[in-house]
């Protein structure tokens, strides 16, 4: 008898057709996305705040709401990242209450992708798969490579050949079969869609996608719990494929269904999405009121982790932003760099370019008045700046190099008006 298994199957988001749990990402009637369905009444009878609080602080403390048949066998330590009260960034931006959900320090590969990968690979093992893989803009590649290595699974990883060198090296080190594909992420992704079904492998964001995407919900559960079992008024998340923003909202809604947060609180949350101006199909759909996004053929931005021109969940993300009362906005490359630096200088958090995008977009929403300065805001930081250091090249002043002499140090302009304090000898 499994320890927990409240996932009843897969359900098409377009026509509602039900499927047994299997490695399949779309409805064979209309190609609509499949999503995991749960027996919430059964979950409600076994879950409580007290029970969750007794468990270790990682993503599996919400295990009843994740689609595994048994215990996780991959990524048992993932999640449980800090929700940082960001008062210095709040002061710099002129807001009162701001928090950062900091997945830049998620374990083991420093991005939120470890959440989705631990679910997907645990599920792959339940399906008896020995070979896994993904199409990736970088963070997912790192995570699949690392988690597959730790689980002893064979991994095939496909990335665009122009990816940041750091992300390529930080994938290779785990020893997967890494393939650089000449093309955009969307072209890599299409190749993976063909590979997944031809070879029967578990590609986490293709045929395992319904299970994979559920892992993102844990970011939302943690935000609600870390706020003291309540929901914020505004949440800003970066968008690549557009799944995360929807899963955070789903997490809030599930907590409400289960009585873990107050009734009616989900509908008060406004969801906002951030993209780079050089690849903004979802924010463009929001701003121009398009039902379907217009794909971006050739993304052009330093924010490669968000450079998905044809996002699978674009339509749903755009709908959510509009219907929740939120909005979508995009940031230029210089604004993204400025956002990274502002976050680092005020909060000591070095986020990757996607984090800079999110901070830049928050700034724009405050300036335009779309988000009031006196309400509660949570921004989601999804990846670590150490992975995208090359994006900062040339944006900061080079540090001085001096001889190891006091005179040389004192001659530096960086001392400004500071005067050396003459210290009296200590009295004995």
């Amino acid at each position: 008898m499994p320890a927990f298994d409240f996932a009843t199957g897969l359900k098409c988001r377009v026509c509602g057709k039900l499927y047994p749990k299997q490695p399949l990402n779309f409805c064979t009637d209309d190609f609509g996305p499949l999503e995991v369905a749960y027996d919430y009444a059964a979950i409600a009878s076994v879950i409580s705040r007290a029970k969750i609080e007794m468990r270790p602080f990682n993503m599996w403390r919400y295990r009843e709401l994740l689609p595994l048949d048994g215990e996780p066998t991959v990524g048992a330590q993932v999640g449980g990242t800090p929700l940082v009260r960001a008062d210095r960034l709040a002061d710099a931006l002129g807001v009162q209450r701001l928090w950062i959900k900091n997945d830049a320090v998620n374990f083991p590969t420093l991005s939120f992708k470890d959440r989705v990968v631990s679910v997907a690979l645990s599920k792959a093992r339940e399906f008896g798969m020995r070979t896994v893989g993904c199409a990736s803009t970088g963070n997912l590649a790192n995570s699949v490579a690392a988690n597959a290595a730790a689980a002893g699974l064979e991994a095939y990883i496909f990335v665009p050949s122009n990816l940041e060198r750091a992300k390529i090296l930080a994938t290779m080190v785990y020893g997967p079969k890494l393939v650089l594909v000449e093309g955009t992420y969307d072209e890599v992704n299409r190749l993976c869609s063909q590979v997944a079904f031809e070879y029967g492998w578990g590609l986490v964001n293709v045929n395992l996608r319904p299970f994979y995407a559920e892992g993102s919900k844990t970011m939302g559960y943690e935000i609600a719990e870390e706020l003291g079992w309540r929901l914020p008024q505004h949440v800003i998340a970066p968008m690549a494929g557009g799944a995360l923003i929807g899963k955070i909202y789903k997490a809030f809604s599930e907590f409400e269904t289960l009585g873990l947060v107050a009734k009616g609180s989900t509908q008060k949350v406004k969801m906002y999405g951030a993209q780079a101006a050089g690849c903004n199909p979802i924010t463009d759909a929001v701003k121009n009121n398009r039902e379907r996004h217009k794909p971006v053929r050739k993304p052009n931005t330093i924010c490669k982790s968000l450079a998905i021109g044809d996002p699978a969940d674009g339509m749903y993300a755009a709908k959510l932003m509009r219907e929740s009362g939120g909005w979508g906005e995009d940031a230029t490359d210089p604004e993204i760099i400025e956002g990274m630096q502002l976050l680092a200088k005020t909060e000591g958090i070095f986020a990757e370019t996607a984090g800079g995008t999110t901070v830049a977009v928050l700034k724009k929403f405050l300036e335009s008045g779309r988000i009031p300065r006196d309400e509660e805001i949570v921004i989601c930081i999804t990846g670590n700046g150490l992975k995208t250091q090359e994006s900062l090249a040339g944006s900061m002043q080079e540090p001085p190099i001096i001889q190891p002499k006091l005179e040389a140090f004192e001659a530096l302009s960086l001392l400004g008006e500071k005067k050396r304090q003459v210290r009296q000898p200590a009295l004995v």
Binding site: L24, F26, C192, S193, N205
Partner: protein, 90 residues
Amino acid sequence: MSLKVEIPTPLREHTNGLAHVAVTGATVQEALDDLVKQFPAIGAKLFTEGRLRPHINVFVNDEDIRYLDDLQTAVTTGQIVALIPAVAGG
């Protein structure tokens, strides 16, 4: 024009297991119409009210038809029209 339509694995039950179906037509629309003529069961999977369903992407020799002329994209002999489920990635 005689060309091939590439069928995604989960839909091959409607094409007698064929991965590629030979069709004729001067546009993507005509090529897919011929596919549906040969295998009527696949028609309702691809189209709804005469329009292509939103979660399926069509490629002509590796180019998404949304960047070309959609269903009116011209095709020539020997080309491959690939049908690929859109819900992946991210």
